[in-house]
Symmetry: C2
Subunit: 151 residues, 2 copies
């Protein structure tokens, strides 16, 4: 998945200026999921901890990345957007942190792709979270929708 990792890192930091400003770095991409690491400094708030918007953005990016990779693997051209999400902030983060997103189960991934390939909207729910010192500090429950190209 070295090629995928390189492609995803470039997609995030070359095409999304905020991801670059946040210093997102793909740490791991494998059969389990995706782990992105972030430094505290560019993501800090007035209290010296990670800004809620930065944690939300990191999780939104991590969640978006997995269905994006599914589309790429299947050679499907489709815009992938987030429809709604719920964020819970559980504990302050006072140092570098990670966002981890596990692959959804295979049935959900297959149904997502099948819908898009049939020209319908494909939907996939993802639940990335923020880790700091091995503690879960924030969670996101998000639904992403792939919009098949009408071209």
């Amino acid at each position: 998945m070295t090629d995928e990792k390189t492609w995803l890192q470039a997609t995030l930091t070359d095409k999304i200026p905020m991801a670059r400003a946040m210093g997102v770095q793909i740490e791991r991409l494998d059969d389990i999921g995706l782990c992105i690491s972030l430094p505290l400094a560019p993501n800090i708030n007035d209290k010296g901890t990670a800004f809620g918007g930065a944690m939300s953005s990191a999780m939104i990016l991590a969640g978006w990345s997995l269905p994006r990779l599914l589309l790429r693997r299947a050679g499907v051209v489709a815009d992938l957007v987030i429809g709604r999400c719920e964020v819970r902030f559980l504990a302050p983060v006072d140092g570098p942190f990670q966002t981890l997103c596990l692959w959804p189960d295979e049935t959900a991934c297959k149904a997502f792709l099948a819908d898009v390939q049939a020209g319908r909207r494909g939907r996939l729910a993802l639940e990335p979270h923020i880790l700091h010192n091995n503690q879960q500090c924030a969670t996101l429950a998000a639904r992403y929708t792939a919009l098949p190209s009408t071209a």
Copy 2:
């Protein structure tokens, strides 16, 4: 409110690097609420529209600003954190955008301050949204909590 506007602008962009990177600019602060404007370029995504994380972050900042001002007006020292929120993305944003947050009703604001002044946690619900071309493009429902200083 010129002094407040200056103070809030400095708080956001001097203490929160992401707010600076996003180019947040307080456009209006009055008895109705707060309006922050943002350029598209630093907040763009791979599709040429506003990144969901940027819109979420802008709304989180707008929502946070109002109880922060209530605390400042009352001379209360307290950390103000976001506990949970729900974001709905309604329409793509392909140009400069604004985030608008209205003041909650006076009863809610007074109860929030009374709790903090009594040494309890003060909670306030806020519902900022994103505007682009006079259209509501995203909404946030968030609950903020003021944690009284234990010092």
